[in-house]
Symmetry: C2
Subunit: 327 residues, 2 copies
DNA sequence: ATACTTATACTCGTTTTGAGTATAAGTATG
DNA sequence: CATACTTATACTCAAAACGAGTATAAGTAT
């Protein structure tokens, strides 16, 4: 017998984008559901069960602990995703799935759990890494395809879209006098999604995949809408970096200013002027010298610093007001 | 017979903090469930039913339309609230309620619907309006009570609370060299809540209301956790104002720079230097003169301006980088 | 000893900001 | 219609912040 015709209810999923930085690379922690097979990467996630978990965040922490063995430190809610068809991949007619995405920061050193791994987030968003200059793929692959798309008929024009496709491309990818805004990670993801250039868009049936036949994959795809959640996480981190001392969650207790800079660059995806970064940080009062030195720099030993927790009390928005390369 | 022992499921509520500005006052739109009786104000809200609504936002728009008659323009998701006991007021053992809060902006002129009204948001948060200087109630009522609270034993100390109560009070209310940060609306709400100084805290059972017997109500309470949602909305608006052209959603098509300033002041709750505000706005390129004049100023006629939609294309973060009075 | 590395300090011209003063162009009042 | 009063707008000026360097310090590798 079939299961009874269950009233279509709602299930809440909790999803974590767990970020860590190592060797100057920003990583996100992934799980690969079928062991290590060919399936797509997925963020750790699980269902919220109000009977078991007093709060959403506790539920998230439990799922992450169970799936990855990690105890999370800093956790922040990002966004709730609830569009119908989000789980179209499954094709099931079960209860409607609504997902809450979280950003978590950690300093994890090794992941021993099988099926759990970290991956550089620029594997998923190669166009977001400007540390070595503008990525070639933007000019060579993305922009030509987007401009082709911008000339196709646009059924959405006008309706809730104050800007045309061409303008959106300019804003997102920075051209013709518009600068690159490293915070627009989600906008860029959504533009590429809408243009049908991402693998996920095919699942959604939004655009005939045939339109872009032979398209090289733009970044590594993820399960469901997990890449969108990750894009949201990166956007949030890049923005919040500037007015909240988030970075220190990713650094050890003591660090050199250059290490700090490299972490900020890894997250923001832009190179920074070393001398001015140092001036900014020291003037900001977020940090204090420990009196010790780091010898293994290869050159002059660097002073070690620590985060001044009390800085939170002194400054209205204690972040690293870094600015990218501008236009 | 009782209803069958229903498996405790999840219900998703959609809540809207609808903001509008009139006569230099920021308003939020409320509904009073029992007609216009003595019951507490509530934000428009309703259940998300995936069968009826394709997306969460569509669901929200429908509920708002049904309850208030308003067609919303700008809508933005704020936060998802899911703690157990949020609806403790009801005391029911039904399905667990999770709520998604939204911020909406509108230029509504008149609300004709019965039971629907607008109310100045500083009725709920009188300590947030610094336009005429530091509100007296902070020094005379809030701070004395908070300091009394800070001397009580703190069971949370250390655990997930890097800062002590005294430091949190200083950060939130700006004292001893710490400036007032108008964006910390939610932090202040939560501090007052934790201290048991808000009416809502009594419902939660967190603090014996008797501790503060004879306490004058700190701001007007709202149903459930609606005041927390409103605090989140105000925080978000005050922050986003600075890097997104939100204000223009609240202004008519044409406006003088002084009107623009008054709207910004109403939202941020701080006074601004008129000449510098004008310089900032004109330099920002967000606005262009229409060539017409507003005569009814009482003095020299003011030029009328309009929002330049294309400014979005030119600037990386096109907001009004206003700064409050600082410390 | 010499070249090379990285860290740190200082300089300098430009831009932005805070806080004004000065002037323009109306209305209200005697 | 002269005068005071109102509000709008323009301009000034010193302080601070910023972008892009040069200079110097203190190590390692050969």
């Amino acid at each position: 017998m079939d299961s009874p015709p269950q009233q279509t209810g709602i299930e809440l999923g909790l999803h974590a984008a767990i970020v860590t930085v190592q060797q100057n690379q920003p990583f996100v922690i992934c799980v690969n559901p079928d062991g290590s097979g060919g399936s797509e990467d997925s963020l750790p996630f699980g269902k919220f069960t109000p009977l078991a978990h007093r709060t959403l965040e506790i539920g998230l922490r439990n799922w992450v602990k169970e799936q990855t063995g990690l105890d999370l430190g800093y956790v922040e809610q990002l966004y709730t995703f609830g569009d119908r068809g989000r789980h179209a991949q499954k094709g099931d007619r079960g209860p409607h799935m609504v997902s809450i995405g979280y950003l978590a920061l950690t300093r994890v050193r090794d992941l021993r759990r099988k099926g759990v791994m970290r991956r550089c987030w620029y594997d998923y968003f190669p166009w977001e890494d400007w540390r070595a200059g503008r990525p070639q793929m933007i000019g060579e692959i993305i922009e030509p395809l987007l401009h082709k798309w911008s000339r196709l008929p646009d059924e959405d024009a006008g309706r809730r879209r104050p800007l045309g496709r061409k303008e959106r491309i300019r804003i997102c990818f920075g051209h013709d006098g518009v600068g690159w805004d490293e915070e627009k990670v989600l906008d860029r993801y959504e533009l590429l999604y809408e243009a049908g250039l991402l693998h996920e868009a095919g699942r959604d049936g939004r655009h005939a995949a045939s339109l872009w036949s032979g398209l090289p994959a733009l970044g590594r795809p993820m399960m469901y809408d997990h890449r969108r959640i990750l894009a949201t996480a990166i956007s949030r981190m890049r923005g919040k970096l500037k007015y909240r001392p988030l970075v220190f969650e990713l650094l050890p207790g003591q660090f050199t200013l250059y290490e700090l800079q490299k972490v900020v660059e890894a997250i923001s995806g832009t190179p920074l002027h070393k001398q001015n970064f140092r001036r900014l940080v020291e003037a900001g009062g977020l940090v204090e010298a420990t009196g010790k030195l780091q010898k293994s720099t290869g050159g002059r030993p660097a002073k070690l610093f620590r985060f001044r927790r009390t800085a939170l009390v002194e400054r209205p928005s204690p972040g690293l007001r870094v600015k990218g390369p501008g236009r």
